[in-house]
Amino acid sequence: MWGYVRLELIRSTRDGGYVIFGIVMPVVMYLVFTNLGLAPGDRHDAAIYTMVSMAAYGALGGAFNNGSGIAEDRAAGWLRRLRLTPLTPAQVVAGKVVTGIVGVVPSIAAVLLAGVLVNHVTLAPQRWLAIVVLLWAGTVPFSLLGLGNGYRLSGQSAAMANIATMLTLAVLGGLWVPIANFPSWLRAVAEWIPSNSYAGLSWRVAFGDVPTVRQVATLSAWLLAFGVYAVHGYRRAGRRA
């Protein structure tokens, strides 16, 4: 299985979509946004807030890109080919999930590093640790949604669906523009959006609070829903592959 993960990670590094949406764009947007002063608070607070937003945005890009890869693999006959190797289907699925989990690390790391090196963000070590863990673990629901789309849809439409979903979640979740700037009705909607809960965990921690129960509950509910969606998609794909 580790050979499979290794192969998939090699493929990711050569995937322009992953590198651009998952790593380059979030860093560039981070640097642009912080210099335009779109975030609330003073310059240092804005640098922290936007750092979390853009790390979350990049992680979303990585997670969804992994899901699009599944549809591409199926179209290329690769999933069928894998069934003719000694790998078990469970190993293949686990390998893809691990690839997704490892694949979001560079996205998060790149933005956090830009925060430290360019915008001179300083945080207590335990807060750094908490942010990294929350940003990382919180991608699981989005990985599952991306995989579900990848299993259910054909190559092109899966990629389109994943990019559209990712951008919608980024905008509505307040990753680009903080939801404090939204009209009140839109803000009410945004609070139920999983990407808002996801980034919200780290926003709270970054400014010295603990995540709210509502954030944890919302994200957990979406985790469950997307998990069911992914498993259902996989079962359907298994019958066709």
Partner: protein, 320 residues
């Protein structure tokens, strides 16, 4: 569908057993399909197919498009489950045989994943097997040493096909299954492909390949299994199939009443075209002798069958 036991009609006059190959060992067959049936909607893609392949044989699965070759292969690899009947590899369920690394396969299309080099792909596939071949040996076998650092999504058709072949053999499996390995290749690429294959057969592997190129079956297989409408319509060496099914054509010029010629020994079918009588004969020697005795040898012409004729005769029989 008037002949449910196709071999019988082919071999009955010779008293041959239906299957040419006999096995004397106790070890399970490499491949064993028993009365396997697979429907796709109303279409019976595989229709009660029984086939046993002992270890070490190179077998060609020959048939026109739609004969059920790919479905048969998907059944025996465990990619599809039969509606009824059984597929067994080395005494195991196909999935288990695949898990144990006994099988290397090349599906008809696809299977090359984008954005990896030939070497990375082969190292990965080989790594899933317990005792793979060394990479250099695989590259030499498939004649792709010069492609090792090329991206697999940037290969020509012939190159890609050889890489796909390499992925089927790199784990050093005992059974190698190739579904139309040379489809869509030009003559040159096909020749290169079979050059690589020859090295493998000499290593004692069991090889099953499907093709609709008759000369490939003729040249590269120990045994040819002809499929038509999801059933085995003939099974034997290519020489036996030619002899048994593709009748030699004996032609003479005849005038007057010639219907009696159809009753000559060996004659199975008669056709009269422009004063020439064409007799399709299962025993051309006997037919010619009888013609001579009857004094009917006029502008005699004897044309032996090739596998193409056999193939047409066999599959046409299925259609009748």
């Amino acid at each position: 569908m008037s002949c449910p036991e196709p071999y019988r009609s082919i071999y009955s006059d010779r008293g041959r057993p239906p299957t040419v190959v006999t096995v004397t060992t106790n070890t399970p067959h490499a491949v064993s399909l028993t009365s396997a049936t697979k429907h796709f909607g109303p279409v019976r893609a595989v229709d009660g197919l029984t086939l046993a392949i002992p270890r070490g044989q190179t077998v060609a699965l020959l048939g026109p498009n739609g004969a059920g070759k790919s479905t048969t292969i998907a059944l025996l690899l465990g990619l599809l489950a039969p509606d009824s009947g059984r597929a067994v590899l080395f005494g195991l369920a196909p999935e288990q045989a695949v898990r144990r690394g006994l099988v290397g396969a090349m599906p008809q299309e696809g299977g090359l994943v984008p954005r990896v080099t030939v070497r990375e792909l082969l190292a990965f596939v080989a790594g899933t097997y317990a005792a793979p071949l060394p990479l250099d040996q695989v590259l030499a076998l498939a004649r792709i040493g010069d492609l090792r650092d090329r991206r697999v999504d940037r290969l020509s058709g012939g190159q890609a096909q050889r890489v796909r072949f390499a992925t089927a053999v790199c784990g050093d499996p005992v059974l190698i299954v190739l579904d139309e390995p040379t489809a869509a290749l030009d003559v040159e690429a096909r020749r290169e492909f079979w050059d690589g294959m020859r090295g493998l057969a000499s290593r004692g592997k069991t090889i099953l390949f499907s093709t609709h190129y008759l000369e490939e079956a003729d040249e590269h297989a120990d045994r040819v299994v002809v499929l038509g409408h999801g059933r085995v319509v003939a099974d034997g060496t290519s020489a036996e199939i030619k002899r048994a099914a593709a009748l030699t054509t004996v032609s003479v010029t005849a005038d007057g009443e010639s219907a009696w010629l159809a009753a000559l020994p060996g004659v199975r079918h008669m056709e009269i075209r422009g004063g020439r009588v064409h007799l399709r004969s299962a025993d051309s020697d006997a037919t010619v002798m009888a013609l001579a005795r009857a004094g009917a040898v006029r502008e005699l012409e004897v044309v032996p069958a090739d596998l193409e004729d056999a193939f047409v005769a066999l599959t046409a029989k299925e259609n009748a």
